[in-house]
């Protein structure tokens, strides 16, 4: 599984109110949420993001609310993965449950700038920046990898109901 796109680096402490402000929590259609992705921090993001793009963060990405609206908005805006130096717990689970890889990579927010080309080889654990610089991310726990490979928790439970 390979993900390819441009980087959007938002640095440390990207909270769920930045990713999807509370005023939009009443939305239930993922396509509507996607129109407001990252609006608390960058009103241009939802208009400009392309399929496969990668959101980059520093420490504690996704802190705050349990709102799954946040990773849903990112996923349906076209984001292929989020890479950060660290994640808040609920966001990390929510992203994986949606089949959106959330990858931990120490130093990533310093190594990558907005607009860089990013290619992620999920099974090899590699991130390639601008076609040359190679970084590695912290291995995804096996159980979470199974969920990601299934395409998310919905699909995983459908396939594995007997052993759940």
């Amino acid at each position: 599984m390979s993900i390819k796109g441009k980087a959007w680096n938002y640095g440390d402490d990207v909270n769920t109110d930045f990713i999807l402000p509370g005023i939009y929590l009443e939305l239930t259609d993922p396509k509507d949420m996607a129109k407001h992705a990252m609006e608390g921090l960058d009103k241009e993001f939802a208009k400009k993001v392309q399929l496969g793009d990668v959101v980059i963060g520093g420490r504690n990405f996704g802190l705050g609310s349990s709102r799954e609206h946040a990773p849903i908005a990112l996923k349906y805006s076209g984001v292929g993965a989020v890479i950060a130096e660290g994640f808040a717990r609920i966001f990390y689970r929510n992203a994986a449950n949606l089949g959106l890889p959330a990858l931990e990579c120490p130093g990533i927010s310093k190594e990558v700038k907005t607009g860089d080309d990013i290619e992620i080889e999920l099974s090899a654990g590699k991130i390639i920046v601008n076609g040359s610089k190679e970084l590695s991310f912290t291995p995804v726990p096996e159980f979470m990898m199974e969920i990601l490979s299934a395409g998310g928790l919905r699909e995983y439970i459908k396939e594995n109901r007997a052993k759940w």
């Binding site: 402490d13 909270n15 109110d17 930045f18 402000p21 509370g22 005023i23 929590l25 009443e26 939305l27 239930t28 608390g40 420490r59 504690n60 802190l63 705050g64 609310s65 349990s66 709102r67 799954e68 609206h69 990773p71 849903i72 660290g86 994640f87 808040a88 717990r89 609920i90 689970r93 929510n94 449950n97 949606l98 726990p141 159980f143 998310g152 928790l153 919905r154 439970i157 459908k158 109901r161 759940w164």
Partner: protein
């Protein structure tokens, strides 16, 4: 050698003991959802080809974040939640007249020591104040939990917060947890359970313990836990109708890290914009002009919070440059405050009283801030844009500091009014 969190996860996954880092599948005792996340959870459950919740007595929805509905979009969401509750034959359903979920859940006897509870709201960690393992999850996880009665958990490390000594006059449990946020940082307890120990915690009321556990998530925590005692059992008496087994940490339990809070010398604390761990002693921010004060939320909307505010505001008038919005956390709290005369006191001082709900806290209901405005709130988050404009500023503090500041129009040490 186990902590409360480890013991509860072990007992709910058919194990004698579990170790931090292990992944376990555990049985869920109760699951609840606010409206804003409930519809998504049910969509997820239906997508898993599951039609009915695992037990209609152990799942509920609460319409608290926006209540009553403010527009057609959220009115439609409320309507869908009511239809789900009927179709699923829920034993319990809490409509817009009920209050904040984290107040309703204990008041109605859904929390008890030793249980494993999940809620589709990040402040579900509040209920650890009763010795439960209670954690916030997203909607897909909730879909799995309500559909199957099980969920996977990574067994957390535990961080010990040791608070000893006596809190001074008008210094509150909010100040203890803000001080812990200052010491540990907003990611200092990521993935971990917090356990609150010490003589200060023993002295605290149940409501005060709830305030601290409520904010465990603001330090990255998975849950916040106070060991149950006679106060816990007294609160639960008549509310919980079945037996339960309290769980305590072993004397040789292993903690990932520990911090101390010196309660004897703790000053009122203020979390400054735009981060919950940007905490200062009140003296460092005294004099900062404010436009709005919010007294309420799952953090500080309880009877004792309104009592402190009313004591400070009694017979006085709120500064004319400030508006105060006070929102009791539940009808039980509202009625008790009314009986004690607190509602009249607050209104006579010039406060607006709102119906029990999440109110101003999350910026989607009412009390929205304009660009450039400054708010002092007793709620739990001060992220940029949290309560309205991204150009507004939110400070967090205790109800005592909030009420004192409402009188003067600037951030004020509550011990000096």
């Amino acid at each position: 050698m186990s902590t409360v969190a480890q013991k509860i996860l072990a007992s709910h996954s058919g194990r004698d003991t579990v170790n931090p880092g292990e992944i376990v599948k555990a049985d869920i005792d109760f699951a609840f959802m606010p409206a804003l996340t409930a519809a998504l959870a049910f969509h997820a459950m239906y997508d898993m080809d599951i039609k009915k919740v695992f037990d209609p007595e152990k799942v509920t929805i609460l319409l608290d974040h926006i209540a009553p509905a403010t527009n057609i979009q959220n009115a439609t969401l409320h309507k869908e939640c009511r239809e789900i509750a009927k179709a699923q034959n829920f034993k319990h359903f809490y409509d817009i007249n009920s209050g904040v979920c984290h107040q309703i859940i204990p008041e109605n006897g859904h929390v008890y020591p030793g249980m494993l509870m999940v809620g589709a709201d990040s402040h579900t960690c509040t209920h650890g104040a009763f010795g439960a393992f209670s954690t916030g999850i997203g909607s897909t996880d909730m879909g799995a939990a309500i559909g199957t009665g099980k969920l996977w958990f990574k067994v957390p490390e535990t961080v010990k917060i040791q608070a000893d000594g006596s809190l001074g006059d008008r210094v509150m449990s909010k100040d203890v947890i803000l001080n812990a946020a200052k010491q540990l940082g907003a990611d200092g307890a990521t993935y971990a359970a917090l356990e609150f120990h010490g003589s200060t915690v023993k002295e605290m009321s149940i409501g005060a313990r709830m305030t601290m556990c409520n904010m465990a998530i603001e330090l990255g925590g998975k849950t916040g836990i106070c060991e149950p005692d006679y106060k816990t059992f007294k609160f639960l008496e008549g509310r919980v109708k079945h037996d339960y087994t309290p769980v305590y940490s072993d004397p040789d339990a292993k903690y990932w890290k520990s911090i101390n809070v010196d309660s004897d010398n703790l000053a009122p604390q203020v979390a400054c914009p735009h981060a919950v761990d940007n905490v200062k002693d009140v003296g460092e921010v005294t004099g900062k002009a404010i436009n709005q004060v919010f007294i309420g939320s799952c953090t500080n909307g309880r009877l004792e919070d309104l009592r402190v505010a009313a004591e400070i505001l009694k017979g006085k008038k709120i500064c004319s440059d400030v508006r105060v919005i006070a929102t009791p956390a539940s009808p039980e709290v509202y009625k008790a405050a009314n009986t004690e005369g607190l509602i009249t006191t607050l209104m006579d001082a010039g406060a607006v009283l709102c119906n029990p709900s999440c109110s101003v806290c999350f910026g989607g209901n009412h009390g929205i801030l304009a660009p450039g405005e400054v708010s002092l709130a007793t709620s739990n988050r001060n992220f940029r844009g949290r309560q309205g404009s991204t150009e507004a500023f939110v400070y967090l503090a205790s109800p005592a500091t909030a009420a004192a500041s409402a009188l003067t129009g600037v951030i004020t040490d509550p011990r000096e009014v």
